[in-house]
């Protein structure tokens, strides 16, 4: 069995950071792991968002372009109390704070010998992983959408309602918005799309981790009337940097302090070895659809 991918993260990081965590809080994996078994592979995760952790491991293992979106979790059936015991003791009577209630997850899938981003079999693998997740009992249910010949989205399509029943939800990024097509930097374009989307939906969508160094390209003139936010985002990320391919994770934070979507933009990377045999995450070049 050959195990690479995100395992190096697990091995290289000292465990002393966990010493700062309260003893009774759950222990999660630091990163997902892809294990290879001949013609098959297994992805393992243990995280509040286990499907996202699994997808991250798959992305880095193969260099695939996969966007991810949470459903807007709100039910106690999908959430866990994550209040720090010391903070709770110091703030008696305060409301609890929440995290998504995910835990362990794994999926087996047939591995592709030449797993290039445009391989048509990628959809089958992602469908298998998502199907396994949807029957795992973890929060939310998801679906796979093919965005282009080499790009996929994992969309949160169900959450629990107050009574614990599945409730269908629609991706907020499929909301049609209008944005004047004015020249803006890539960062300004991204922030403008999210700001307009927030106003249009009444739900805050905030930029969290944004790789500004890769968004220093020339001015973009992106916009339109009645265009989905997803379309504008795809245009922005597709034109922002001629050397890099970018993707997003859209996370819903149900904490009362936040109660918003948080968007992380990431450069697509692939696990490789450098000339000295060290494992490195190397950015994938620009992939045109």
């Amino acid at each position: 069995m050959r195990t690479i991918g995100c395992l190096w993260l697990v091995l290289l990081i000292p465990w002393n950071t966990y010493a700062q965590q309260p003893q009774l809080r759950p222990q999660f994996m630091r990163a997902g792991i892809v294990e290879h078994h001949g013609s098959n592979a297994t992805v393992r995760a243990n995280d509040p968002r286990p499907l996202l952790q699994a997808i991250k491991a798959i992305r880095e293992e193969y260099g695939w372009i996969i966007d991810y979106e949470d459903p807007p979790f709100f039910s106690a059936h999908d959430l866990s109390d994550d209040t720090d015991p010391r903070w709770k003791a110091a703030h008696p009577g305060s409301d609890p704070v929440w995290r998504i209630a995910g835990s362990a997850f794994q999926s087996d899938y047939p591995e592709i010998a030449t797993a290039v981003p445009s391989s048509p079999r990628i959809a089958d693998i992602l469908q298998k992983v998502v199907s396994d997740y949807n029957s795992s009992g973890n929060p939310g249910k998801f679906s796979v959408r093919k965005e282009s010949s080499s790009r996929y989205s994992i969309l949160g399509t169900f959450r629990k309602d107050r009574d614990g029943r599945d409730q269908a939800v629609r991706s907020i990024l499929d909301t049609a918005i209008s944005m004047p097509p004015e020249p803006r930097t890539p960062v300004e374009t991204l922030y403008t799309i999210l700001s307009i989307l927030s106003s249009a939906t009444g739900t805050r969508v905030l930029p969290l981790m944004v790789p500004t160094n890769t968004l220093q390209g020339p001015l973009l003139t992106i916009g339109g009337t009645g265009v989905t936010a997803r379309t504008l985002l795809l245009q922005t990320l597709g034109q922002a940097n001629p050397r890099r391919t970018l993707m997003w994770d859209l996370l819903f934070d149900p904490d009362p302090n936040t109660n918003a979507y948080l968007m992380n933009i990431e450069v697509v990377t692939k696990t490789t070895q450098d000339g000295s045999g060290h494992v490195v995450l190397r950015p994938l070049g620009h992939v045109k659809d």
Binding site: L12, D84, V187, L208, T214, Q216, D253, L262, D274
Partner: protein, 194 residues
């Protein structure tokens, strides 16, 4: 550049810095072209739209060679650490570089390039300050990123010429933010009142 210190986690970052710099540099190949042997950083100020500190990079070697207009880029060769992280927060537990690439000489004059923009935006800082403590995070907290800088020899071969520690310290608003690029070496730091 003069700047205020945030001493409580300074020792932690410094220890990490010294341990890392004691290691031999990793190279993606043997040097097959002219490569810089020194790289300095100069803090040129804050981009307040993104709350990032901007650093100008300065390349040199003992022969005063010119590296214009070669391509340099950043790479993550070792997972970073983030003491502001809690599970489910959306913040990276092991942060890395964002994949920037720069043309030498395009900004700042001969053998300069940039800017390397470092730091978390206001959404992230607000999230850490407002939600972090109730999830068990103690301020000040921050990240350490291991940045390898490599220069293009030809279209497929890059050579690693420098390894830097990138850090940010997040404290309560009264103490603000501090961002550093290679503080223990030829780098610089900047503070942000936020």
């Amino acid at each position: 550049m003069a700047h205020n210190r945030l001493p409580r986690i300074r020792i932690f970052f410094l220890a990490l810095s010294l341990a890392h710099l004691g290691r031999p540099a990793r190279t993606s190949s043997q040097a097959c072209c002219l490569v810089p042997t020194l790289e300095g950083s100069t803090d040129v100020g804050t981009n307040f739209a993104t709350l990032e500190e901007q650093f100008l990079q300065n390349l040199s070697d003992s022969q005063n060679d010119t590296f214009d207009p070669r391509l340099v880029q950043e790479l993550t060769t070792q997972p970073g650490s983030n003491t502001c992280h809690w599970s489910g927060s959306g913040l990276p537990q092991h942060p890395g570089v964002s994949g920037g690439a720069w043309t030498v000489g395009a900004v700042g004059g001969v053998n300069h390039c940039g800017y390397d923009s470092i730091g978390w935006n206001s959404t992230t800082i607000n999230l850490i300050r407002q939600s972090g403590p109730s999830h068990g995070i103690t301020l000040p907290c921050g990240f350490v990123i291991y940045q390898s800088m490599e220069i293009e020899c030809d279209s497929s071969v890059f050579y690693v010429y420098k390894q830097n520690l990138l850090t940010e310290t997040v404290d309560v608003p009264a103490n603000g933010l501090e961002v550093c690029r290679d503080e223990a070496g030829d780098g610089d730091c900047g503070t942000i009142s936020y």
